[in-house]
Each structure stands twice: as C-alpha cells, then as structure tokens.
C-alpha cells in the first residue's frame, strides 16, 4: 500500500485526500487541496512560513505528517476571513505595513490569529513571543506588533458592544 485515505476538516469543510503516509500536511494542503496560501520556507520547522492551526493550535505543517491530521480540524490563511470579511488582524496587517514581500505573512498571520483567539489584550512581549517561531527577513516585527494591537483593540470593542451575530 502506498497511498492512504485521510479525512479531516479544512477551513470548516470536510475533505478527503489520498496521500502517501510520509507526505506532510503542508504538501497535502498545497498539492492535493490547492491551498497554496501556506508556504514552504525551509521544510525543517525553522521558519514558520508553513504555520496553520491544527485543532486550535498553531503548528508547523511541514512537521506534521498528513495522516496525523486524521479527524482533526485545520485552519489555513485561506480560512481566516469569514463570510467574505477579513479578520481584523488581516486588515490591520495591510494598514500597518506589517509585511513587504508577503511570503512569511500567512504563517505569521496564523500565529497572530492564534494569539488573539485566546488573548484579546496581548502585551508587546506576548505578541513577540507568539511570533518567535516565525521568521521575517524583509520587515522585522514592529509592524506586526502594531497590527496585532490594532486588531486586539477592534476585537475588544466588538466584544464589549455585544459583538457577533
């Protein structure tokens, strides 16, 4: 047997892929599912370009074998927006110039999204720690801090006014 069937949830949708067991989740997302938003920067877990949410935690998808995602829920950069609306942190990134070439951005955005899901008022140190596994060569991290602070403020305001639909 070479390929095996793997079922999991990506961005809220059930998928079923056929892949060799030593194929990574990153490869399956990009090649089998055409979700090329998540990037491969090093294939060794050192750069964070491949970060996705796996069962509510950010992980390096190049360091997860596809079958290890069986029955799990995965959220990629393509799944951060909801109902066509960008997540506040996605919008904030554009406004604060938190990226330039953009290659690290999907991974960093998912790390920031993960932080904001559990902490709507992060300190600068907490933000930098959240992206301590994400490597950006173009822009550094000050714009990221500003973007996350801006998004956090927006999220807090929405929560206060009874947010959600």
């Amino acid at each position: 047997m070479a390929e095996m069937e793997i079922k999991f949830d990506v961005n809220g949708k059930q998928v079923r892929v056929s892949a060799e067991p030593n194929k990574t989740l990153l490869s399956v997302l990009r090649e089998n599912l055409g979700l090329t938003g998540t990037k491969d920067g090093c294939s060794s877990g050192d750069c964070g370009a491949c970060v996705v949410m796996l069962d509510d935690r950010p992980v390096n998808s190049c360091m997860v074998l596809a079958p290890q995602a069986e029955g799990s829920s995965v959220v990629t950069i393509e799944g951060l927006a909801s109902n066509g609306e960008l997540h506040p942190v996605q919008r904030a990134f554009g406004e604060t110039w938190a990226f330039q070439c953009g290659f690290c951005t999907p991974g960093i955005l998912v790390s920031c999204y993960a932080l904001l899901e559990s902490n709507d008022d992060p300190t600068r140190e907490e933000i930098l720690t959240a992206v301590a596994g994400n490597f950006c060569r173009c822009t550094g991290y000050q714009g990221v801090v500003k973007a996350v602070e801006q998004a956090a403020a927006e999220i807090r305001a929405a929560n206060k006014s009874g947010g959600g639909s």
Binding site: G37, E78, F93, Q100, C101, T105, Q142
Partner: protein, 757 residues
Amino acid sequence: MTDSAVVGQWTAAPGAEEIVTGKARYCPDIQLPGLLCGKLLYSPHARARIRKLDVSKAREMPDVYAVITHADIPGENSYLYAEPDQPLLVVDEVRFQGDAVAAVAAKDERTADAALQAIEVEYEVLPGIFDPLEAMKPGADPIVHGEDNIMMSKMYRSGDVEAAIASADVVIENTYRTQWAEHAFLETEGGVGLVGDDGGITVYSSCQAPHRDRMQIARALGIPESMVRVITPYIGGAFGAKDEAHVQIHAGLLAHAAQRPVHLIRDRRESMLTHVKRHPMIVEYTTAATKEGKLLAVKARVIADAGPYTNSTHEVLNKFGEFIGGPYKVENVEVEKIGVRTNNPITGAFRGFGAPQAAFVYESQMDDLARKLGLDPLEIRLLNGVETGTKMYTGVVVREGTAMKASLEKAAEMIGWEKRDQVEREPKKHLRRGFGMATILKGSGLGRGLADHAGVVLEMHRDGSVVLQSAAADMGQGIITVMAQLAAERLGIDMSSVRVVRADTAKSPDAGGSCASRQAMVSGNAVLEAADTIRDTLLSLAAGKTKIEKDRLDLKAGSLTVDGERHEISVKDLAQRASNWGYPLHAESTYQFEYPTDVPEVTYRYSQEVFQFCTQAAQVLVDCETGQVTVERLIAVHDAGKMINPGGVFGQIEGGVAQGIGYALTEELIVDEGHTQNPSLENYVIPMALDIPQLEMEVLEIPEPIAAPLGAKGIAESPIIPTAPAIRNAIYDAIDKPLYELPMTPERVLPVPDVSD
C-alpha cells in the same frame, strides 16, 4: 510635505489583500496542467573533475521527461550577464560545492529525486584552494578558472596619500575581516518554464531583472529574445541574490527539453549551498589625521574572496572603493581592490553591495581614531562630515549634503548621546553598557557612465481607472506601491483606481534590475512623465470645456480643480470625454537618469551622485562572562529625500536593521575547505522577533535635487550598512575592546579586558 493626497500617506500596498488572504502566487504556487517537477544535480565537491557523466538510466526511467547535461544545451552554456563565466551545467570541472551538473524533469518530486539518484557521475576529487591570500600568490595552485586566480586588481588614487601620511600627527592601521553572509529570503529561488504552441518559452521567474533574464534564457536556448517571455509573479524577497540568474534559465531549458511545463524550486539547503553570498573581505586600512581629528588621508587594500566565478565582483569592489572614505571630507585616498578566485562559495550582489563591508571598516576606524586623540566620536564625525557642495575624492560634488550632519545630530539626540555617561553603565557586576554610532553614505543608481533607465506604460480607461505596466520587479521593497502612488497623485485619482500589472516582458518596457536603490528614481520618474502626458490631455479637454486657462487647472482627489478649488467636473468625466472624442489616454515613457555635466572631472568610474545619508546609534549590554551582546536600543535616522510610501520606508529600515544586527553579531556561513557547514536556517543564525529591540526610527525629508520623483530617493540599501559598526563601537565603549572581525560572536567578544588592569 504639502497637500499631497496620496504621496507621503500611509497607504496599503496594492497587493495587500492578496497577501493577507493567501491568494498571492509565488513561483512555487503556480499550478499548471501537466506541471513537471524539475531538479538540479549539484556537485558535492568543492573542486573535482568529472570523469564520467552518464544520464541514460535516468532518461529511461518511467515518468522522467527530460534529463539534460551541458551537451544538451542548445545555445550558450553560461550565465551571468556581465561576464558569463559560470556554466549552467558543468562541462568538465566543478569549481565549488553547488556547481550544477545535470537537470531533470519528472512527474513529481519523488520521481525527480529518483532520477537524480540514477544519474551516474564519477568525480575525481581535486585539491582546491580556499584561502584567498594563498590563492593570489604567484604560482598558486590550482588556478581556479581562466588564467589567474586574481580576477581583478585595480588601484585608485586621488591626491597624494604618502605625503599626507608623512605629514600627519597620527596614523592608524588595522586589518578588518568580514564574513560570508546569506540573504535568507523566505522564498527560495524558483522558476517555472513552459513552452507555447509556436515554440516560444515563457518563464515565471522569482527574479530582480526580468529583461535580463529574458536575454539569458534566449541565449541559453539559442533562440531570439522575441521568442522568450519572462513574468514575475509575487517574489518572496531577494536582497540582491536574485539579481543574477539562478534556476530560471534551467527551468526554461527543461521545459524546452520536456516540451511540458516544469517548475524548478530549490529547497532551503540547496539554496544556501548554491546561490551567491556576500563577499567576505580582508581589508588593511590606514587613516592619517591631524591631532584635531581632521582626516588627511585614507589608504585601503581590500582582498575579496570571490569564489570561482566573476559575477558582480568588479562592481562590488568598485562600490567598496567609492565609499571607503566614508561620508567625510578627505582628498588623499588610495584604494587597491583585489578580487580573488577560490573554490569557496560563489559571491554576488547583496544589499549594500560592498558598502556594509566598507562601513564596518571606516566607521570602526573613526572610533579608534577618536579614542587615540581623546575626541568625542560624535565631534570627530561632525568635524569631518561632508556638506552640500563638498567635492568627494572621487570628484563627485555633493549636491545636497545637509542630511549627513543632520542625521548625526538627530541620532545623537535620540540616543541621548550627551547624557550617556549618566546612564547606569554597570547594572550588574558582569554586565556593561555601551553606546556607539556609525554614519554612512550610499549611492542610488547604477553609476555615471552606465545606462540607467526604465520604461513604463500607462493607460487610463473611460471610467478613470488606470492600468500601469512596468517591468520593475517588486520583491517586497514596494516599487509597485510607489508607482501606483505617483500615478494616482499625478492623475488625481485614488490608489484603488490604479492597477499595476506585475512585471512581464511581453507587456512592459525594460526597467532594468531592481538593485542599487534605483527603482523609485528611474521607474518613479518614468511614471511621472507618462502620467503627465495623460494629465495634459485631460487638462486640455477641461480647459476646452470650461474655457478656463489650463495653467489654473489641476486634478486632485477625483476632481478637476480650478485655482486649487474643487470643480464639479470629475476626472472620470474627463476620461469619458476623452474616450468619446478619440483622445488617447495612453502614454509610454522611458526615463533616462542623467548625471549632471557641469561638474569638475569625476575620476572614479561608475560613481554615483544621489546619496543616501544615514546614521545609526546603538546602546548595547555586554555580558562580560558569556560574551553575549544584547542590543537594547537601536536608533536609525535615514535620509529618504521625501517619502512617497512611509509604510514601505519604515519597513525597509526595520528589515535592513534586523539584517544588520544579524550581520554584526551572529550571521556567518561556516565554510571548511569549500564545504558549508551550516546550510540551514537552524544553524545560520538570524535574529528573530525576541532578538531585535524596538527600533527608534526617524526619516529626514530633505528633497533630492537631481533625479528624484517629487524629491524622493532610494532608501533600500542604507539601513543595513551602519548597523554593524554602530554596534561594534558600542561594544568598544562598553568593554574597552575594539573588534575587527565580523560577526562579533560571543567567542570573539571574549575575553573582556579586566577593568582593573
């Protein structure tokens, strides 16, 4: 800043939404029916002769569509545009670990790997030469390439250095060493080649110079350039390494051989082993000065380890020599520039292009000089700093030099230079705090005597929306945003109405390479000229309709204005009118950077004349027992002329400083007998989020008088240049130990001289 609607405003990049949603496509994301996986077989040896190369087994494998060696290259087997002495695929002698020997295209990655394994290569490993000082000696063996290991040896002299040295009160001599540095852009090198029905080749290339790529791909395939098209998708960083060709030519060759689309993407390890690095340099540097600290002469001898192939060694050493005197008034200069071939990693362009190495030398020496004379490091720099009207030793006259001293004074103010001795210097027994600064200059543009131009095509549609076609490669530095802003500003529309088509040689005129901090200037000016043509048409129509003199009319924020006041006619109305009545709103413009001719004789070849001045100051904390250096504060004061895109400018500064901190303290490719020991992001240590202090940045906006669109000049390179010497000088201040070698790792910082000695 005036009443600009768009220029100078913080505005999101045109591609922002694509990037934050993951829709932006880079070379590895391009999906095509039947796309094959291409790979290169690289030499594991630094020097070897190929005794046997048999690809027949690989070719016979199922699902392998092409296997090529040098014998299968239809055109020229070379790349590099300046001096094409690097083979695309090695013929007989491998000259560095990373020389490519064969290329395959197969159904998928696994099959491509298997095909590489099936290629039979017999190497006769030969002794290589790895020390440039040895390699340059007469009779050195082996000769790496061509006739001589000395690739270039040039001497430049201005004034009378020997006499100046003889008359000086103080003469300081030091030898400096810098390391191989790796660009570590996040998207590795990639190319996607495909063949059209008429035999034309299209290559999606992660590159900095699409037209140059086109020329080289055509040359390798032996076909006319008209049959080649190069498109840049999104590019994930470059910093100079993608200026010269990397895998895109091979991608074209494979697509041609397989007659199917092929993508060739290097993995990180391959990337670190095979693409160009920053030249390591050994610099003997002599400074002569009066006891008041006035510079009399500067003498330098630089030996650069170029690796085996020429690439941009001449140009990098040219820039090194042009700036080795620093932003200072000094007339007597001698610089001997030697580029040496070895079997070490290949070298090439890297942000700064010789200037970071030069700055480490001249700014470290400035502090040594200040110490020797008992002068304040700030004062000695102010004493010697260039001003508007200063004639450099190269003969170039500084047209606008206010920023030099202004940046020094501002940086000093921001770091608290005058009060630095009131800051706690020894917060713990083993910790020492220090302050240092460095001030630099860098030129924008390719240099006097070189053709430096860019073209652009602009078209406005009947609804006032605009398409801008430029071949200026945007690898993150933001030229697309800058061009959109300039077009929007001139045509009185907003950014969202400007669509910039990414570089495509079939659609846009040559813009030259994105390098030398030049695109904002040349492409920016081309955009303004093209926009002015369209603007003129619109205003002529407006004048006709309103019966108001054209010189009272303008376009702003979507409307016609009369004497600055908003009129009811909109830009869209005018565009519609033009379209209805057959007035083309289409312009193509090529901007040629012209150097002023009314200057006294410029003696330095390819000298630049649009200068970026910049000062950085650092506050460091040195752990005297471990040698670790923490950068607590970093002040960066940059001279951008005028900011068109503030977000991009601050991003460039921060990114450049982060690279500078790495260059200063931790980044180093460790090469042993030509073999890189740390070709991974794990062991090539780049500072990450917790390692970089909160930068304090300031941009001085002193308009550039020669070339700049709306006063702006390039700012891309200067941020990386002063960081290492600023940190070095801060370390010197903290522990009383001058360092002369990069990077300043803990092992080089130790031992710390005992204060009680």
